[in-house]
Amino acid sequence: MKIDRNVVEKIAHLARLDVENVDESVADMSRILTFMEKLNELDTSNVEPLVYLTEEVNAFREDVVKQEITHEEALKNAPDADENFIKVAKVIEQ
């Protein structure tokens, strides 16, 4: 995959990152991808992608309510909150 300024800017936007030196990132990401392309030398067309590192399946929880933390504890680490709500920068304009 060809990495150019557009690709870096798009990825930065998706990750909500402020990338200061775009050209540097273009070079870094190109190097990483070129290195990974080495893997394409192997024929994996008949190999299912590996998603889980364990063979286990079906880890269920019973449908029983547990109150693990209080309302006060929940709001304690929010950057901004009043007694009811977590507060964030206004998302839409009225």
Binding site: Y52, E68, I69, I86, V88, K90, V91
Partner: protein, 488 residues
């Protein structure tokens, strides 16, 4: 003459996405209460807050409910289920991704059937049903400088039900939603309350020239909180899109908002602003493998669904289809009817009482059948008294039923006795009443013999009044015809 308008040249194409909030006790991936209406940010946990280091754990009930709906909509249950992350940033989604199912949803395909006004039924196909978590709630009008976030809803289980673009009118869309809501309520997995947001709907709407095989460009309309508003939004979009095309324009694939107060849609997001969700497998949750035995055990627990009840009522009970549809419109109403017919075999009379006297009483009082004070057995007792010729129908309707509503604790037999409305008149008494009436109307009796046979209704009415209803209409009718012959 019907005037052809330019709108008649076009066909509407609609697919619906329904989000059904499941009525489980807890959220889909953590043990917080999933109840509606708590104080803000009280039903929360480190998992629903999206704190680092927390791990989701799947609520088994959600899988069970999803399979129930999949089976009830004739879908194919996926034996191997996985979850995926749908990535986007929004303040009410603290993790930065929603856990959903993308590649391997729980149920694939299937269909439901809907009744249309013209009496036909139409099969609406489903694309798939998948499990996912709800987001929190953002409020933008409580504080002038900030948006307020309530995470009680974050992580409440949802089923997203995606239909194929099979709907061709706003009426079909409304009927589809009505049927889907009925199904959710019969299965007892979602309360289907659109105003409270426990059932939500997005509509993908496009138009095309009639006869065209290609679909037009679609717009997705969001934020409709009632079936009526879905219908209004579809009707509005149908005209708007045709107007654009007829003026030589093209439809842009936008996400639209529907304003219920103006009935108008407006652009919420353009295609360029559309999110790139970058789905990838959720590594924090193990796959869910469903066995045939498990599917069979869920199948065995399914209640009778509206369609099966309609079949039972029309074939086993011999009821007209119309009656069966009305009786099954509401689950609790159908359950009540099922109880009534345990105590009487006059199914048609039971249906008539339910659809007539009982329904109009419930409507007058604005109550649900679950709050109705009479027991199914009491209603059946009234029906049986009529069938046994011990009270007549109008007395039952006008005296026994209303009185029983006032004294639901009373036994029907005893109450009828107290009201003194049992049929008592013997034939001699009856003949006395009949002759009295026929003597009163000599002219009408002549007209009867000349062919106005329906005058018998008038005579019977008077006999009924004279006897204060304590006669058996069947034998009175027979005697009436005999006596009329003697009054020639």
């Amino acid at each position: 003459m019907i005037r052809n308008t330019v709108y008649d040249n076009y066909e509407l194409v609609v697919g619906l996405e329904v989000h059904a909030q499941l009525s489980t006790n807890t959220k889909i991936f953590c043990a917080d209460s999933a109840a509606f209406g708590a104080e803000p940010n009280c039903n929360i946990s480190p998992i629903s807050l999206g704190l680092p280091g927390t791990l989701p754990k799947l609520n088994q009930k959600v899988v069970e409910y999803a399979i129930k709906l999949g089976l009830a909509t004739n879908g194919t249950i996926n034996k191997y289920n996985a979850f995926d992350r749908k990535n986007y940033f929004y303040a009410d989604l603290p993790k930065g991704y929603q856990i959903s199912q993308d590649a391997k949803p729980i149920s694939v395909g299937g269909h439901i059937e809907v009744n249309l006004k013209d009496g036909t039924r139409k099969k609406i196909h489903l694309h798939h049903i998948h499990m996912e978590e709800d987001a929190g709630k953002s409020m933008h009008d409580q504080d002038p400088f900030n948006s307020c976030i309530d995470l009680n809803r974050a992580g409440v289980p949802l089923l997203e039900i995606v239909s194929e673009p099979d709907l061709r009118s706003s009426e079909q869309a409304a009927q589809y939603l009505t049927e889907m809501r009925k199904l959710l309520r019969y299965l007892d997995i979602c309360d289907g309350n659109m105003e409270e947001g426990s059932m939500r709907c997005d509509a993908n709407i496009s138009v095309r020239l009639k006869g065209s095989k290609e679909y037009g460009t679609r717009c997705e309309v969001k934020n409709m909180n009632s079936i009526k508003n879905v219908q209004r939004a579809i009707d509005f979009e149908f005209k708007r899109q045709i107007d654009v095309l007829e003026a030589g324009g093209t439809i842009t694939q936008n996400t639209l908002n529907f304003d219920a107060s103006t009935g108008v849609t407006s652009v919420l997001r353009t295609k360029e602003m559309a999110n790139d969700y970058r789905y990838f497998p959720e590594p924090d949750l193990l796959p869910v493998v469903v066995t045939d035995e498990y599917i069979k055990s869920v199948q065995a627990e399914l209640p009778l669904l509206p369609e099966q009840l309609i079949h039972k009522y029309t074939t086993e009970y011999g009821l007209p289809e119309y009656d069966a549809i009305v009786l099954t419109d509401n689950k609790q109403f159908a359950l009540y009817f099922n109880e009534v017919v345990k105590f009487t075999s006059n199914y048609k009379a039971a249906a008539n009482w339910m659809m007539g006297a009982v329904k109009s009483y419930l409507n007058d009082q604005v109550i649900e059948i679950t709050s109705f004070q009479l027991k199914p057995k009491q209603l059946a007792a009234i029906i049986n008294l009529i069938d046994d010729g011990r009270i007549n129908n109008s007395v039952a309707n006008q005296q026994v039923f209303p009185e029983l509503l006032k004294h639901p604790e009373k036994n029907v037999e005893q109450l009828t006795h107290e009201l003194e409305v049992f049929i008592e008149a013997d034939d001699n008494e009856l003949i006395g009443f009949i002759d009295q009436v026929l003597d009163k109307y000599p002219e009408k009796v002549k007209e009867y013999h000349k062919g106005k046979k329906n005058l018998i209704g008038l005579f019977m009415g008077d006999v009924m009044k004279l006897s204060k209803g304590k006669i058996d209409p069947k034998s009175a009718n027979k005697l009436m015809i005999d006596r009329l012959e003697l009054h020639k």
